[in-house]
Amino acid sequence: MNPAVSFPANAYSYTIATFRALAEAIVPFTPSMAEYGAEQTAGAVQLHVHEYIIWELDHSLTLAVGFYPEVVPLAYSTAALLNSGASQMVASVNAQFAPSNGTVPHVPFAALSPADRVRTLSRLERLEVDLRALPPPFRNDGGLVKFIVDYLNRAVMFGNYSEWPAYGTTRLETPTRRRLEGFPVGWKQAGYPGVSLGYRALRGYPLTIIREDGGYTIV
């Protein structure tokens, strides 16, 4: 079965809802930007970048636990970190769950407005949380919390603005089996023409090293 099709059924909907909410907060769907071109409306969720984050987190760590090295998946526990951060923020400051997001009752992070999700990330990376209440492996490990929260930001951006979404139905295959199925939307959004063989862009040389007789001069 094609993993791109089976992926949502295999992953916890909790995890998917959490990372959809993350992707949406960082690179949102913006219908108002249609005036700059239809491709400018798509956000990271439309490009399935939440699936990229889950894939990366679940394929990033192997440790020798006992006698054999084992893969340690991190997507579920990282989703739990974001949800713990969201619950703690709502309990301690004046944030509210957005009423329109009430359809995800057990995913507090997704129930926040995008701005409050960003505030949650900010509080987590500043360690303005009860570290004892976080899920493992983040419990009492503020350094790891800082690392992962920063990572989540840049990973959403790299997923969105690299060619990854264009791997289409092969996007969740092992990397050597991914195939491009179109021109990447994020590259269109950025106005990047794609990979190249070269550009006729030479505009001169301010300095040149000339080597002769075992020495060199600069002209």
Binding site: L63, N153, P175, V195, L207, Y216
Partner: protein, 568 residues
């Protein structure tokens, strides 16, 4: 009696140089490399199949295999988890090898023949003399002949001007910096980067030659893929960007004295005790990354060039003698990253062009050098990499939650997310970005050690700690102000300072320092016949310049010293 004269551990910026130099001196050399060998007919599917064990012939190099792997696509190549360029096993269905870092940041190191030079930007400046003389145990003039040899071998040439360099020079001149026509920088000023990139193809501007033709000829085509894998060239040894995979490795194979075994992670340095010499290196134990089989090889000397993290890790995991400085003194140029967004009409009036074209030319082609403070260099990347470095990677948190104070030389500091990010990214082609390299103070507390509990298949895993000094941070802040000033004078309308995480590890240096762990010949004080030939032997961060050329000069010198001492 021995399997080789010398075993070299690692084939990156330093190890490949040692292999070539020792091979040319007539020594029999075996090179062990943890990652894959790209561009070699013995490994046609290097990321999916084990392939052969050894390559020892120049004729094994294969441009077809090389260009198939080097797709130039940024996620395929540079994803730190799953890319062709990562620190992990060749088998891309497996996870990368982990390092523990309990702070924001990331480590850009690659396993594979050529090591991190596969995606480095080929900047090859010499150290600032003021950071060496009176500071290192050897003088700058001692390094000069070796700099010249490495520069001629790679070769190093000043970068050409493309639109982004033209705009950079425009701002630098307006800010009052003057041109420095030198390789030995003692005063501040601007210059094109001395890059290990072949001169631009002379036919590039001739429309009678198609881009397909030009890409299969010798010379740079300004394709803009230094970071995502250069493909300009007719054969592996003539690829335009001179990472060691395409420069020193082909020369090493040409000697007929060097054999390279990729997919082989060195897990232990084997020693014996000689009545006269004392403790000395006698060989290595390694693990095949495909089969898990462990092998041993013996030699009369060992050169460790596994990089600033793995060299100390290997020392610890081999249980070599205690030395306080092993792993300590880590420097990293405490980077920052700034960007400027330009209006089309301003670019038209300056250059007669509507954009910066950040995707054309050398990834980084020009710099301002400021001895005592650092460097800022124009550095432009493909959109995925550029978006996260400019807008998503920060020590400062979110700009919207903590906006810059009025009068600051930047409009944005820290991450930008939401609709504002999308609007900025629409201006990608009119955005010029700089990498800032700080003269980083060397501190014993900044270090690599091994985790007391966590292990992978290669043993206890490294833990990296890095927190810059107040002096380093002051220099970094001054550098950011200088850099943003040139962007402003060039006409940038929005200026972004990312405030890059301190632990974004690109230029790791000085974890096995000369004078502390190794002597002035780069031989370990406590283990005879064990030499080190990577960035870790640098005494400091060389004042800020990109470290690879200094490692290559030293590796050239170390090879000469090793041969004189044990093989003359």
């Amino acid at each position: 009696m021995y399997d080789a004269d010398v075993i070299v551990i690692g084939s990156g910026g330093g190890g490949a140089v040692a292999a070539k130099e020792l091979g040319e001196l007539g020594l029999k050399v075996l090179v062990l490399e943890a990652g894959p060998f790209y561009g070699n007919s013995k490994w046609r599917n290097p990321n999916a199949e084990r392939g052969s064990e050894w390559s020892s012939s120049f004729d094994d190099l294969d441009i077809g295999t090389y260009k198939k792997i080097y797709s130039r696509y940024e996620n395929d190549m540079n994803d730190v988890v799953s890319g062709a360029f990562r620190f992990g096993p060749a088998d891309r269905s497996r996870t990368p090898w982990h390092r523990v870092m309990r702070q924001k940041g990331d480590i850009w190191q690659l396993a594979g023949v050529g090591g991190t030079t596969q995606h480095y930007w080929a900047q090859s400046p010499r150290a600032f003399p003021s950071a060496v003389d009176g500071v290192w145990p050897i003088s700058y003039s001692e390094l000069i002949p070796y700099y010249e040899k490495a520069e001629a071998t790679l070769p190093v040439q000043f970068a050409p001007t493309t639109p982004k360099e033209e705009l950079f020079y425009y701002g630098a001149k307006k800010a009052g910096w003057s041109l420095l026509p030198t390789l030995d920088v003692t005063t501040p000023g601007y210059r094109p980067n001395p890059n290990a990139i072949l001169r631009t193809n002379e036919r590039l501007m001739d429309p009678n030659y198609s881009m397909e033709q030009l890409n299969n000829m010798e010379g740079c085509t300004l394709q803009g893929h230094c970071v995502n894998g250069c493909t300009s060239g007719p054969s592996v040894d003539k690829i335009a960007k001179r990472g060691t995979l395409v420069s020193y490795i082909p020369l090493a194979l040409k000697t007929g004295n060097v054999a390279i075994r990729p997919n082989s992670f060195t897990i232990k340095i084997i020693t014996d005790r000689d009545p006269k010499e004392g403790l000395r290196a006698a060989g290595v134990r390694f693990r095949d990354t495909w089969t898990g089989e462990v092998g041993e090889l013996t030699a009369r000397a060992v050169v460790m060039a596994a990089g600033c993290i793995e060299s100390p890790r290997l020392w610890f995991n081999s249980e070599l003698p205690y030395n306080y400085w092993v792993g300590r003194g880590l420097t990293n140029h405490c980077f920052d990253w700034v960007g400027g967004v330009f209006d089309e009409k301003d670019l038209m009036s300056i250059m007669g062009l509507p954009a910066v074209y950040p995707y054309m030319g050398h990834t980084s082609g020009a710099r301002v050098d400021i001895p005592g403070i650092g460097i800022f260099q124009v550095s432009c990347l493909s959109p995925g990499l550029m978006s996260f470095l400019t807008y998503g990677f920060s020590e400062a948190g979110y700009d919207a939650l903590n906006p810059p104070e009025p009068g600051a030389p930047w409009n944005v500091r820290g991450r930008t997310v939401g609709p504002a990010l999308k609007e900025l990214m629409m201006n990608y082609s009119r955005t010029m970005t700089y990498l800032l390299l700080t003269d980083d103070e060397t501190l014993a507390r900044n270090r690599v050690e091994v985790d007391p509990i966590l292990k992978d298949e290669n043993g206890p895993i490294p833990v990296v700690h890095y927190m810059p000094s107040a002096k380093t941070l002051q220099r970094r802040d001054r550098l950011a102000r200088y850099a943003c000033e040139t962007l402003k004078l060039a006409g940038a309308k929005t200026i972004i300072r990312s405030d890059t995480p301190f632990s974004f590890m690109l230029h790791l240096e000085s974890t096995m320092r000369m004078g502390h762990v190794v002597d002035t010949n780069c031989e370990a004080y406590q283990v005879k016949r064990l030499f080190i030939a990577d960035n870790s032997v640098h005494y400091n961060g060389i004042g800020g310049p990109n470290p690879t050329l200094t490692t290559q000069a030293l590796a050239t010198r170390t090879s000469e010293k090793l041969a004189q001492r044990y093989f003359s």
